[in-house]
Assembly symmetry: C2
Homo-oligomer: 207 residues x 2
DNA sequence: GTTCATTTGTTAGAGCTTGTAACTATAGCG
DNA sequence: CGCTATAGTTACAAGCTCTAACAAATGAAC
């Protein structure tokens, strides 16, 4: 039996495992927030939790597995935030605005997690392993659905282009590229959303 | 005298220093290309060059200084590529297309260097230290100049928005996010450039 | 041409990291 | 109550960055 996935999930032992794994992940996220992926150290996490270093290898096969799990969690969390924003009783255009704002808010509130999504801190290029691709798709689906109410047809390009624009802005903002040139990121974001909306609706009914 | 900046640049010793530093950087870039920032190891570079690990600390104060220098070089190289693309005898709109294409080409040809620019592999948030901000400005200036010939006024927003859009697309493409959803990045890029151009010229003469 | 200081290299080692191996104690389950 | 799986321990290998102390070489001045 695999060492890091042993035990029944329902039993007392399983619950203990889940709790420890959760504590490890929480500590890892804090390290990530404070010092970036470089600062995430299994040893340091163990020390913070009051156990010896190797103890944690009972819960995660290695550093990468821990990181991968954090990435997966982040994807799900972002998707949930977008879904929540899209859930309101709004007109399609406003719903798109709400989703866009939620996207940016989520990223700004926890830049370290956003970086985790789009900046592979993993050595191998397995960032887009199956499970992660599926997790990422979740968020894209929300954008796709909202766009579906706004423009007819099911061309995937508008959705991807919008996503790409949002990502570009958020990524540059998070990395501090706007601050160094005295620009208001919020204004930029609003303008970009407006421009994209105009473009989308213009394409729908071209005079 | 500082240990890593000693000696006259012109003398025989200075030339030797410059040559060694260059060899170190070349090797570092290869490691970066093969395994990402994590894989860049001062020790491994030294071994490749046939010297002991600590020897390289005569040429670079530490790993971060080496990385910072690579970032600076990359900024300059990108700016040069953009300038070259903008130098041709083209109409403003075509010049913008050429610069956009050059931007993408540069990034695709050496994704590890592009990542170096926008994804700080440095622990501290000093990625935007003065010298780096200035280096980054070089590329922005090219975009700004080309845009200046296309639309009147000197509002910085259009330039930043265009830059952000290009970055979003290139970043997602490099990280493999399009490949996993069967999209043609080149097509996406062309469409985005067209849309941006239309938007810019429409804003210039609004009916 | 000889001397001298600077520079470049060396090895040793501290202190960190990830991860494995071997062993012990505990605690849930039958 | 006893057995076995689990969770913890320490010791250790192999790697990393970087400092300290020392030896050799070499450009430059006299």
């Amino acid at each position: 039996m695999d060492e890091t996935t042993s035990g029944p999930a329902g039993g007392i032992r399983g619950r203990f495992r889940a709790q420890v794994r959760d504590e490890v992940k929480r500590t890892a996220l804090r390290q990530l927030a404070e010092g970036g992926p470089q600062a995430l150290s299994v040893n340091a996490i163990a020390k913070e939790l009051g156990v010896s270093g190797p103890a944690l290898y009972r819960y995660f096969a290695n550093r990468d597995e821990l990181l991968t799990e954090l990435v997966r969690d982040a994807y799900h969390d972002l998707a949930a935030a977008l879904r929540a924003a899209a859930g309101g009783d709004l007109a399609p255009a406003d719903r798109l605005r709400a989703v866009g704002a939620a996207y940016r808010d989520w990223a700004l509130r926890q830049p370290h997690r956003y970086r985790l999504l789009y900046t592979a801190p993993l050595p191998g290029y397995d960032t887009h392993a199956e499970q992660l691709v599926r997790a990422a798709q979740e968020s894209m689906d929300v954008v796709r659905d909202v766009l579906g109410d706004l423009v007819p047809g099911d061309d995937p390009l508008p959705g991807v282009m919008l996503w790409s624009r949002l990502h570009g802005l958020v990524d540059l903002e998070i990395e501090g590229n706007f601050a160094s040139m005295r620009l208001d990121p919020a204004l930029l974001f609003r303008r970009e959303l407006d421009a994209s909306l105009r473009e989308l609706t213009d394409a729908a009914r071209p005079a």
